[in-house]
């Protein structure tokens, strides 16, 4: 790589030495296309297969055979909210939420209804993106002969798009407005039914499974407090206001508890590694392509 840069500055002279260097560079580039690219692609495939293995894909008909994992969500500092969630593949099959309301000492207890489970769309999307990236890579196996650097770049771009999306799906949860949250199907999944002044949300943030609990209080209709709709956000702060069915609500308490999902952490690491591999390959190509685009005038 260093060679090529040095020769770049010497090329205008077009001396005999640079001619030789040019030939060497060309050989080096051919080696890159022939050997190195495939080596990187192989490595990428291995890493991604490993990542894809972490998302246990439900094969049709065999859903029940998926491994169930229990996660206990809580924090050491506060004990108002505690949750036990069961994750099976990409779906939460069971949930146990204990909520201690500040004003009364009683504990509220909610569970998923028997017939319901909550799909974590983030995990499904990430899995599908990883699989699409794998599919792209598998179409160019050892026997395929890359002819140009652009071809490799194009493939890398496509792969990186999928990988970035997969990672972004896990690292950036969907931001929702409070009314969207209140009307989502999640509220109807519990038994006993959620009271009107409590809202919950599940999401993945990085490798953590998060549970948000919002406690609301109804604003009196003739309140003098200046009412402002809260926008969409992943995490709404106390004081956020919204309107639903002609009632105005304000968030009074926010509780967030989380728990690390080990295999999600692995997946994220794999995704980061493969993204870097892709970028490094692109950088290698770009050193040469800037050299090839050079035309002495």
């Amino acid at each position: 790589m260093l060679n090529s840069q040095r020769s770049l500055s010497e090329l205008p002279k077009m001396s005999a030495a640079s001619q030789v260097e040019r030939a060497v560079l060309e050989e080096e580039f051919n080696w890159l296309l022939r050997e190195e690219v495939h080596a990187v692609l192989k490595q990428l495939q291995d890493v991604l297969k490993e990542a894809s293995r972490r998302f246990s894909i439900p094969s049709p008909g065999l859903e029940s055979q998926l491994k169930q994992e229990n996660f206990i969500l809580g924090s050491s500092s506060m004990d108002q909210v505690k949750g036990v969630l069961t994750l099976q593949g990409e779906a939460l099959t069971q949930a146990d939420i204990n909520l201690k309301v500040a004003k009364s000492s009683q504990t509220m207890h909610f569970q998923f209804r028997e017939d319901k489970q909550w799909k974590l769309q983030q995990i499904q999307d990430a899995r599908n993106h990883v699989n699409q990236a794998l599919q792209l890579l598998s179409s160019h196996d050892e026997s395929y002969h890359f002819k140009t650097g652009t071809e490799v770049n194009k493939l890398m771009d496509a792969v990186m798009l999928q990988l970035t999306r997969a990672r972004n799906r896990l690292t950036t949860p969907a931001s929702l407005t409070l009314p969207e949250l209140a009307t989502s199907g999640l509220m109807k999944m519990f038994s006993p039914p959620m009271p009107g002044d409590v809202m919950v949300n599940f999401y993945i943030n990085l490798s953590k499974l998060c549970l948000m609990v919002y406690q609301l209080h109804v604003l009196p209709p003739n309140t003098t407090k200046n009412f402002k709709h809260a926008g969409s956000s992943v995490l709404h702060n106390p004081g956020a206001m919204f309107e639903l069915n002609n009632n105005r609500f304000e968030v009074s308490h926010v509780h967030k508890v989380e728990c690390v999902v080990p295999w999600l952490n692995d997946t994220l690491v794999f995704l980061t590694i493969s993204l870097q591999l892709c970028q490094q390959l692109k950088d290698k190509i770009s050193v040469f392509s800037s050299f090839w685009s050079y035309r002495p005038f």
Binding site: Q5, P60, T171
Partner: protein, 1180 residues
Amino acid sequence: MSGNSLVLPIVLWGRTAPTHCISTLLVMDDFSTIITGCHDGQICLWDMTSDLEICPRAMLFGHTASITCLSKASACSDKQYIVSASESGEMCLWDVNDGRCIEFTKLACTHTGIQFYQFTIGTQREGRLLSNGLYPEILVMDATSLEVLYSLVSKISPDWISSMSIIRSHRTQEDTVVAMSVTGILKVWIITAEVSRMQDLDPVFEEESKPVYCQGCQSISFCTFTQRSLLVICSKYWRVFDAADYSLLCSVPSDNDQSWTGGEFIAADKVIIWTEDGCSYVYKLPPSEHFRSHVGKTKESLVPPLIYKIAERSDKELLICPPVTRFFFGRREPFHKLLIQGDSAGQLSLWSIPDSTPQQPLSAAAELQVSSTISLQEAFDKLTPVSAGIIDQLSVLPSKEEPIKVTASVYIPSQGRLVCGREDGSIILVPATQTAIVQLLQGEHMLRRGWPPHRTLRGHRNKVTCVLYPYQISPRYDQRSLVSGGVDFSVIVWDIFTGEMKHIFCVHGGEITQLIVPPENCSTRVQHCVCSVASDHSVGLLSLRERKCIMLASRHLFPIHVVKWRPADDYLVVGCSDGSVYVWQMDTGALDRCVMGITAVEILNACDELAPATVDALSHSAVNLKQAMTRRSLAALKNMAQHKLQTLATNLLAADNADKGNLPKYSHNALVVQAMKTNLTDPDMHVLFFDVEAVIIQLLTEEAQRPNPTLVSPETLQKSQAGADKGGSFLANKIFKQVKETMKETIKEHLLDEDEEEEEEMRRREEKSKSLSLLEYNLTMDTAKLFMSCLHAWGLNEQLDNICLERLGMLRPHCPISFGLISRGGHMSLMLPTFKESLLRQLSLATGLKLTLSDIVGKGTYGVSRAVTTQHLLSVISLANTLMGMTNATFVGEHMKKAPARPPRPGGTPESPRRMQATPPQPSNPALQAQIKQAAVAATANTGTVTTAAGPPGAPGAPPQGAPGSPSPGPALNVPSVNEGWSQLAAMHCVMLPDLLGLDKFRPPLLEMLARRWQDRCLEVREAAQALLLAELRRIGVSGRKDTIDMWASYLPQYVDTVSSPGSTSEAPSPAPPPPDAQPIETKASEEEMDVVDDDITTGSLVRYNVLVSLLVMLHIRCCCCYCYSYYYYCYCYYSYSYYYYSYYYWYYYCYYSYSYSYYYYCYYYCYYSYSYYYYYYYY
């Protein structure tokens, strides 16, 4: 909004066709248009003839990411709409005929497939778009508003939908959606009437969900011939299922590591399947009875016979990604069955699939030959003359064929100069209008080599990748400095006036990719920096004042995607392509933070909130274009257009001073040259944006500043000139003069370099002319000259053409010019240079004559599309009117060489009229005038009679009878011939064009677009729109007007319907409802005044005009305002008033043809007077 002002783009594509790496394609139902989308986000429209000749016509810009899918979006053939979706979730509805963007929207999710379907609900059919993509639902959208109406969701194992198909079952008479999820589960939804009517977002659950074990499904399709089988293509095999119970009928694996990517039924018993690398195979399925008897015992080995094979082509070597293959069959004559393939080189290949099976034994599959193939570059290469690039004449080296490519450019509007960095490392500075004139128009400049005068900056060793003129963005920078970056890793600072290289920065370890100006409120040290981004993923702050790099933020792992600022915290925020964000302290150069995920998004968003203007997305040229478009038309013009001549000049000066601090310099420029590239590796192509409103204002300003030699002293003139010259102060002028001397020297040198053996005398003459016009050419007039020459419909009226050439100084274009059309939200359609080929073919077909290219120069563009015609006619008429109002506004003569307000040189002023006298070749002026006048009157009379014949007797005929009576021939002879020339030009475009061109070559203007300009803020444009609207209404005759009313009536509120229905009497509309309480007394007065005038003209059809006009205007208002109700009321008032008003306008209109200028102006002002009331009313 850019959609509001009248801006016309002209494109100079250059010889290299834009990169068009096809990602998806579509053939319209009538097989006359192919549409391709590419990975860079552009959409290309290709015309196809019935014998499968293809020619690219236009390119649509607006998407910022790769196009993922295209679909038709309307059922009827007269209104051809398509919808496109991109990787970033944008959706856009386009009109195929003219490339207008009708509607656009953006969702957070990416669509990978869209299908149009008309659901039948009772007797009604409603167009819907169904989309699937990277989400587990199928979204159902309205096909005209692109609003999501409801979604189809799955209850059982929901997952992404990889493909879907919609069918109307004969058995159940219900619309059925069949889809395959990525995990291989077949899902069926039934759309019932109740579902279709549903408006809220309640989900619709699937009717059936069946695992069919098809992993990696690529596409599914129904057999439309029998409706009994379903074809499912997976990458490793394809299968046929029974459409009723989804039982497997046959399965064919792919051989030797090829993967199937798609397929279709081409007949009841034949399927075509294609692979990723572009081969296709036609299989014959067993007869269906036989087929179905085998259900359940299908053997894998039972492969249906292969009958045709379409091999990949040998020249596929250089493809960089898999080609896209699609199959389409015509449901109408000539029943084409076409297999179309688009590849990464922008090439389309067509195969016509025969219905018959080959005669030979079935064991050997017959090879099918390609029917037609063309690539964008081939189409460009075939053109004669070749498609022009903006500085081609300066870039062709003597030894080489191809010009040196322009790789980066920036336009400096204040000086009217274009800076072009080229691939050989040189930078060229050239007057933009002059070089555009060379490229587009014929004239004496063709004889001069090296014209226009330019200067070359040499310093970069290799390709220049970016150029920045910081002063244009903020006045805190030195007016002289120009910054450029190259692939040789260096950033060079130039003095543009001396051509001196001031400093070379070599701080980066990679090609410079972008140069950015930091925002206003940074620390003083940073304020004098430019920010450079390089391909080694580093960002540098280069101080132009200190001539050193004050900070280098490097070692980012991924390419830099965006650079943002937090000036208050002294932070530079770098967003990388993988989503990570690096926060750097500008002062210390320390890395403050490196974050990912939500925090990263939040940090980037926080920067936007603080300073929305400082966002610089590096990713895509289309984004930059959009920004440029929005920036250009700022509020500065808004009020000015409504003022009249005298006040305008002072206002402009005041506004200019006031705005200096906060408005971009180029916010009100008649001409903006924008460099664009569809792909980073492409050379620049240049789009010249003409803002008609700004041209008019600048012309009027100059007119107002025109010196009256007896009254004005040179000093004041100097001052006003300095102010009017928007870029320069008085000091700057001095510098210009100095610089001019040095530049003259360099040019001399340059010339000596290039043309050594050129004749001595010739050279001297050239130098003389160059030194004259080096910096002193009149930018405004030059712009107007270029613009008018491009717009005029040449070759329709010999005499008028001569007047244009010789008296008005216009120039004839070399060949038809590629225009563009800007529509909503900065979406843009640009004609490819090859459009003329297809236009020629189309016109030849229509007229039955063999036409050559020169036959359609100028006038050809009026046959392209109705929207284009509207824009062009509006521009040409409003500009001609403006020029007509100016004194001696001609493009020939000395005054073109310098600004008009400059104090006249001794002997200078008398010379120009003398020259003018000398130039006309005709022996006698009055004789010619008489001729022209006769012709014009004849033409007017002609159109008059035509309409009389078409319309009811006496109705439209009445005004023409009055017309000859009103003008007195006396004043016409005293009028300067230049003005008369302009008036004839305007008249020809306003009324005579349809007759002169004939309807097969003329696409009439769109009434609704004209109605939208009815209250345009620029008076000239408004008048042009009104005159055109009237002319058009008259042209379409009674039946046409009736059709228009019928078409629009359904969109109107109920109580107007009674009035507007065509069958009703031609009485005046019912009196206006009581006016709002604060109505001024003046309005009443004017009403009465107009009543008097109204009595003069009594025609029945007039009222119908009024109805139509007001109808259109109302419709427009209704479209614009969401809160309609309050507006209805005002519409109503407006409606009744337009009656009076219109009758008056009609009168004015006819005066227009009479060459009596006094009369004309009288009417003109009278109309203006009445306008003000309307304005009051309208805005009240």
